[in-house]
């Protein structure tokens, strides 16, 4: 069996524009007034065609429109991409097609449009249930507006997830517990709960470096928040299935599972990454990040700036890093197959003793505690 089948096959489409840039965000997103969506459709289709020759004859399990703010895409643009993909790769019966939405950047009518062209899942960036904090996060919407957008979305779609960011400036453990309970009463079957990460090269990153980003929770508080998140969600029937993702059983994001189970994915659009099994190897692709430059490159044949064959050490490490994020863990036999050597048993024993991982048969899982310090766990497992 081809290894990628362990994860499946997906398509990621990157839309690199937002109405406003959030100060914490390091996604490849840009603010611009002139976007010719027809030109973008042409470019996406051209990239799809190029990939159809690389990986033909596959069944597509999921499509994800990510950003940036894909809810700024016209339904026609989304439709054109979905249709072209369908021409190239037969869709699985249960194909999941997700589109990311910013509650400040959707007209009510659009959701129906997306639904009509095949989108069947929405992931909405709500971020906080508190207006003051939304303002501090540089968001362009209020809680009420977010809630309204969420209601419109849930009227159109069975599957609507939303994102919150916690460990925000000035937030206490009690604040977060309260907010999370309110979120759970809103949620349908999926939630992404991210601890605020201070990314280099963002406005928050600069402020932080200058000591101007005050009142961030300490590491210990953040750890308490993380643990509380696990417990509260579990009690509401939405257990974690990944470090930051919670779902009712069966409602997990299929597209994102492809990443974590280390399947294959085509990535198109500025800055999009892909992983493709070709010619007996695993290739990493990466597209040019700047939207204008990407368009130009695509018109000349390819948007890629990286297309490299990963070494066994690299792809086995990626598999481990991604897979251990999942509560289900990884199959050590698969790792050994990929790496050509087993995981270090002595390290695993140490980690079991510390309560960081558990093992049953050839399955290795991180415990709740281990997942909270996964980087340290991975450093041990990957140390030579």
């Amino acid at each position: 069996m081809d290894d990628w089948r362990n994860g499946g096959f997906g398509l990621y489409v990157h839309w690199p524009f937002c109405q406003a840039k959030c100060p914490y965000c390091d996604f490849n997103s840009h603010v611009t007034s002139k976007i010719d969506q027809k030109e973008w459709v042409k470019a996406y289709l051209s990239e799809l065609k190029r990939h159809s020759e690389l990986v033909p004859n596959r069944v597509l399990n999921a499509i994800f429109f990510g950003g940036g703010t894909p809810s700024l895409m016209l339904p026609e643009t989304v439709a054109a991409v979905i249709e072209e993909a369908r021409q190239i790769w037969p869709f699985a019966n249960d194909i999941e097609i997700t589109l990311e939405a910013n509650p400040g950047s959707v007209e009510a009518g659009r959701f129906a449009g997306y639904r009509d062209v095949g989108v069947n899942r929405i992931s909405m960036g709500i971020q906080a249930l508190n207006d003051e904090d939304l303002r501090r996060l540089g968001r362009i919407h209020t809680v009420a507006e977010a809630q309204a957008a969420f209601d419109v979305a849930r009227n159109c779609f069975d599957r609507v997830s939303f994102d919150l960011i916690y460990a925000r400036q000035g937030q206490t453990l009690a604040d977060w517990q309260d907010e999370l309970n309110r979120a759970l009463s809103m949620a349908i079957d999926h939630l992404s709960l991210y601890q605020l990460t201070i990314e280099e090269g963002t406005a928050f990153g600069d402020r932080y470096a200058r000591g101007k980003l005050r009142n961030l929770p300490t590491d210990d508080t953040a750890a308490d928040m993380y643990q509380a998140t696990q417990d509260i969600c579990e009690n509401h029937g939405m257990p974690a299935y990944e470090v930051s993702n919670h779902a009712r059983i069966g409602a997990e994001s299929r597209h994102n599972l492809i990443y974590w189970r280390y399947g294959d994915y085509v990535g198109i659009g500025p800055g999009a990454h892909g992983r493709l099994s070709l010619n007996g190897g695993r290739f990493a692709t990466e597209s040019i990040r700047a939207p204008g430059a990407w368009l130009k490159a695509v018109s000349k044949g390819s948007g890629d700036c990286v297309n490299s064959r990963l070494t066994a050490e690299e792809f086995s490490a990626e598999h481990l890093m991604m897979g251990m994020r999942l509560v289900e863990g990884i199959d050590m036999a698969r790792f050994q197959q990929l790496a050509g050597h087993p995981l270090p048993q002595d390290k695993i024993c140490d980690l079991i003793q510390l309560g960081m991982v558990s093992r049953s048969g050839s399955i290795l899982q991180a415990t709740d505690q281990g997942r909270a310090v996964l980087n340290a766990v991975l450093r041990e497992l990957l140390a030579d």
Binding site: T197, H273, E318, M322, D350
Partner: protein
């Protein structure tokens, strides 16, 4: 060859930054020894590190031709010596090769600790001393006050001192005239067997060892066979010459002259500073008094960060040792740090210079362990062992008592900081020997354990006095005290590279400070880590580094796989730079940082 009466040999003594090098440059320039276009600031400081730190490490000479106001042509030989206390011993040796000194004092500052230390060396060498007040161009210059201070503190006549600005050139001519008129000419006999003093030597990759000599009697000529009297070795002189300051070969050096010789000598170690050089046959009967070689007083371990670089380190150390006889080394193995070298230095600056050169010139990253002085351990059986490394401390049941080296420290400081200085000295177990005032400056003389000074005393002194204190010291001898070995245990395992000798009364405070520092320096692990200081089996301080609770990337999707992998690779490299003690990784900088005291 120059007539003895037309030769003047002299050195310049000064506190650091009072303008010694600048004055030397001016003298060279004024006499046209170097064409203006070849002039670079500080001609005599040659090595990069010296230039960077603004200090002179090796003795240098320069020969200056000067036509004096009396119409005669003179040869002036200037010997430039290191200014730093680590090299005090070398200064005192070099002084023995000349007859006079210019005492340079910054007229806007006054007498400082190194002014004193250096002028005493000059007096010990029986020099005629000519005071020079420098920097008279500065608004703060106060020649009368400083002249008075020189008379008060040093006790030499200074009312007529030459007033100079090495910056503008004012007073340079008078200085040259004073050298000719006030300093004595050397004495010596031309038709006698050769008797030359080996003043210094260093390694040059083209010429081999270059030997700096001062001719006392007789003549040194190219092609001669000479004998180094201390070890009876014979050498054929293949080149002699002088520095102007570039090397210039000449045919003969006569009595009273200074210059260099090369004789295909491979190692600096084969030459002994202070040795007497004479003819191989019918040489002089009486050797010069000679000097004892400088003894290393500070020891520390140098280990490669990457243990694969051990052989490269050995190579680097061998090469450096070729040119530095005062630096000693032997192989050391540490449970924690693997293979490295235990090295001996003249002082902390010397240590830093050597370490920097290894890192910079040989590109080897180093872990430096706690500097230690040499303790004398007296055993119950009456024998004494020298302890260079606390890790080697013998079993206490066999030990009778310990002695540690002491120094006499002289500190000059403006009045308002005196209190802080006295406190610092008390804290470091100092005993006050003298406290006097010269104007608004106080001079404190303390008897201190070298151990307390070696690590960061000078940094602390600078910081409590905002840089206004000056400091100098000399070794005085050994004294018994209540000294113990303090071990550091991390996760219940002793870390040999962190063990140190301390005074029993200071051990608790030291131990507490160490474990607190280490708690900040060691990154959190997945488990909690006890950090303890112990004497023998008794724990005297303890901290617990709590377990890591959160270290995970919040968002990780398709595009993040490569980024995350690179991040982990970077962390893995970082981990390689740490040292493993049992299951604990300790970053290399912890070994030095943990020792810095805040008081």
């Amino acid at each position: 060859m120059t007539d003895l009466s037309k030769i003047r040999n002299f050195s310049i003594v000064a506190h650091i930054d009072h303008g010694k090098s600048t004055l030397a440059d001016r003298l060279i320039q004024e006499t046209g020894t170097v064409a203006g276009r070849d002039m670079k600031a500080q001609l005599l400081d040659s090595m990069d590190i010296e230039r960077e730190r603004g200090i002179t490490i090796k003795a240098n000479t320069v020969r200056i031709d000067y036509k004096a106001d009396d119409g005669e042509n003179y040869v002036l030989n200037l010997i430039d010596t290191p200014g730093h206390v680590d090299f005090a011993y070398e200064v005192s040796r070099s002084m023995r090769a000349v007859e006079g000194s210019l005492l340079v004092v910054d007229s806007s500052q006054g007498v400082e600790a190194q002014t004193l230390a250096n002028v005493y060396h000059a007096m010990e060498a029986d020099h005629e001393i000519v005071p020079v007040l420098n920097k008279i161009d500065l608004p703060a210059s106060d020649c009368d006050r400083v002249a008075e201070q020189i008379e008060d503190v040093i006790g030499i006549e200074a009312t007529g001192a030459i007033q100079v600005s090495a910056k503008t050139g004012q007073g340079i001519h008078q200085t040259l005239e004073a050298i000719v008129n006030e300093l004595p000419a050397p004495t010596g006999t031309r038709d006698a067997p050769l008797k030359a003093m080996l003043v210094d030597s260093w390694y040059d990759s083209y010429l081999g060892v270059i030997v700096l000599v001062r001719i006392i009697d007789g003549e040194l000529k190219k092609g001669m066979r000479v004998k180094f009297m201390s070890n009876d070795t014979l050498h054929s002189v293949d080149r002699i010459g002088v520095f102007r300051p570039e090397m210039e070969t000449i045919d003969v050096l006569g009595p009273g002259e200074m210059g260099f010789l090369t004789a295909s000598i491979k190692q600096v170690r084969d030459t002994r500073v202070g040795d007497t050089i004479t003819n191989d046959r019918n040489g002089t009967e009486t050797a010069l008094d000679g000097f004892k070689p400088a003894q290393p007083v500070v020891f520390c371990g140098l280990f490669p960060v990457d243990s694969a670089e051990f052989e490269d380190l050995r190579d680097a150390i061998d090469k450096l040792a070729l040119n530095d006889a005062s630096f000693t080394f032997e192989m050391e193995t540490s449970a924690a740090l693997g293979f490295g070298f235990r090295c001996g230095f003249l002082g902390l600056l010397h240590l830093e210079v050597v370490r920097d050169r290894i890192e910079r010139e040989y590109n080897i990253e180093l872990i430096t362990t706690a500097p230690s002085v040499v303790y004398h351990v007296f055993m119950r059986d009456g024998t004494m062992v020298e302890l260079h490394n606390p890790a080697d401390m013998p079993d206490l049941t066999h030990v009778d008592h310990l002695e540690e080296p002491r120094i006499k420290a002289t500190i000059l400081v403006p009045d308002e900081y005196l209190g802080d200085v006295l406190k610092l000295c008390q804290d470091r177990r100092g005993l006050q020997e003298d406290l006097t005032y010269a104007g608004s400056r106080a001079m404190a003389v303390y008897d201190l354990p070298l151990n307390e000074v070696v690590f960061d005393f000078y940094d602390r002194l600078k910081s409590v006095t905002k840089g206004y204190a000056s400091f100098d010291y000399q070794m005085t001898g050994y004294r018994e005290d209540n000294l113990v070995k303090m071990s550091i245990l991390v996760n219940d395992e002793p870390v040999d590279a962190l063990s140190m000798m301390v005074h029993r009364d200071r051990a608790d405070a030291r131990g507490r400070a160490m474990v607190e520092k280490l708690k900040d320096l060691i990154p959190r692990h997945m488990f909690k880590i006890p950090i303890q200081a112990a004497i023998g089996g008794k724990v005297i301080a303890r901290e617990t580094l709590s377990a890591l609770r959160k270290d995970v990337t919040a968002k990780c999707y398709g595009g993040d796989a490569s980024r995350k992998r690179k991040l982990l690779d970077k962390q893995k490299k970082g981990k390689k730079k740490m040292r493993q003690f049992g299951k604990v990784d300790i970053p290399q900088e912890a070994f030095i940082s943990a020792l810095k005291m805040d008081s």
